[in-house]
Symmetry: C2
Subunit: 299 residues, 2 copies
């Protein structure tokens, strides 16, 4: 017989959705993946989508804690941003549902006014990390399509900056004229390190170096592995130049262990900055769980 | 009765093709536009495409002077690059055709080895400009998808640099997360000037400033006109920072009179650099005509 969930953890992003029906002792009973992200749903589609994915064996009262783009203005219901400096926000916006069993809490994102910046979803990852390392004082790097640097001190998010490095790499590598020069998945570490060093020391060269990648492959037959690593290195080096106030002299943690996380670690190491990689596979669930414990007596 | 052309001028690019059947006195009889660019043709498709567009009222011997991507390795036939420093190349690669009436000459592009760079098509625009101003000594700016800065001295192309600024603007504005913040065609001149000044003085801020555009529109309701002009200004400012050795203290000519050409002029003017806009509508035809006069006794 299947165990009935005690509550539901939900990471509801732009293109994907992950649900964890949770048992006792903060243990997920299973994980449900779906591509019914925000971009495919209008406001009234969310509740039927959720019930359909969960099936009908639900208890009388079922807390659902949601983070991510479902809380944006174009999502299920807006969970207004909390402003920096602030603790990770665990007070969800309560949303009334048609099905009386659902107790819906959507966690807010975080905004920063000067310079303007926003996050929605990453704050819950940060909450998951701080649940494991509550005394952390330093800088978190969250690699992704929109890479984020977050300064944490005294249990608060002091400030943060978002870089479109992942999206730029995808657009330039997949859709610009450079796509002809970097097929495949190959990687040349020395070329990466060289390129990081170029744009880190002279960030103005980023824009002039991009077309050089194409010309170099046309004129010198430079291979896709080198070109691919160089493009990544140029972009990450330029990001590190702009993010220097964040990482210089700080305790740095990179959330993730994949190739991109390793690329950031290697780029920082070449600058004499040691960064620690922390597994991030369950970090969002840990953040949702922390929010649940914060909220459960009020639900 | 239609006049029979004396020769054919052809600007055969990646996505478009322009043909000018030419009469006496360097006068185009008409202009034929087609979307049969290089990207839609394999090598053996070019000759039938050309004959089909010209119709059949051709003289016994018809010189055809072609510039652009038709001369690339993936084009009709490769016209190998000439290396800088060099005069504008007017010696075309002769290509044998099945139809004995055609006397085909494909003009080469130009390559630079250090740093690696290439052009194919722009050299003929430069030739057209120099046909009108043979004594020019200074820097040409050729705005486009891949913007080029070209140092001209003593009738030679000394060096050049290509920037993907136009392509970056199109990708970021049309396909990245920023597309939600800059629809329409509006323009705010003050926002443009501000953004140019930011990245020109501190080029490292380019990568951190991009997501700020999105956050600023979400948090402050900043309008599409401002965001659009800022994105353009950030990219052009970063380009000008890297291209400074080209334009600083030089006689600058921008080939073109459209909004993009004007944006470059305004950005340079704010730096105290006066640039002259030169109409470029017929500049490729002028370059092909100069090549025809160079070649005609050999054809």
């Amino acid at each position: 017989m299947t165990e009935t969930p005690k509550w539901i953890a939900a990471d509801w992003g732009t293109s994907h959705l992950r649900l964890w029906p949770m048992g006792n002792d903060d243990r997920p009973l299973r994980r449900i993946d779906s591509d019914l992200g925000m971009s495919r749903l209008s406001s009234e589609d969310y509740e039927p989508a959720l019930l359909n994915l969960l099936g009908d064996d639900l208890p009388e009262a079922l807390p659902v804690i949601i983070c991510g783009m479902a809380g944006s203005r174009q999502g299920w219901a807006e969970a207004p941003y909390v402003e920096t400096p602030c603790a990770v926000p665990f007070e969800g916006t309560q949303v009334t549902t048609r099905d009386p069993r659902l107790r819906l809490h959507i966690l807010p994102g975080i905004k920063q006014m000067r310079p303007p910046d926003v996050m929605r979803g990453e704050e819950t990852q940060i909450g998951g990390f701080l649940a494991k390392e509550p005394g952390f004082d330093g800088v978190l790097c969250l690699p992704g399509t929109h890479n984020k640097w977050v300064h944490i001190s005294a249990h608060e998010i002091v400030s943060f900056r978002t870089f479109m490095t992942g999206e730029l790499f995808a657009l330039l590598g997949g859709q610009s004229v450079l796509r002809h020069s970097l097929g495949g998945e190959g990687w040349d570490s020395a070329a990466f390190a060289d390129a990081v060093s170029n744009t880190l020391s002279r960030p103005a060269t980023l824009t002039s170096s991009l077309f050089t990648l194409r010309a170099d492959s046309l004129l010198n037959g430079t291979g896709a592995d080198v070109t691919r690593a160089r493009l990544s290195g140029l972009l990450i080096g330029a990001e590190l130049a702009a993010a220097r106030p964040y990482w210089l002299g700080q305790d740095i943690v990179i959330l993730g262990e994949d190739a991109v996380a390793a690329a950031y670690r290697d780029a920082l190491a070449a600058q004499g900055a040691a960064a620690r990689l922390v597994p991030a596979g369950d970090i969002t669930l840990a953040g949702l769980t922390a929010a649940y414990h914060h909220l459960k007596d009020k639900i």
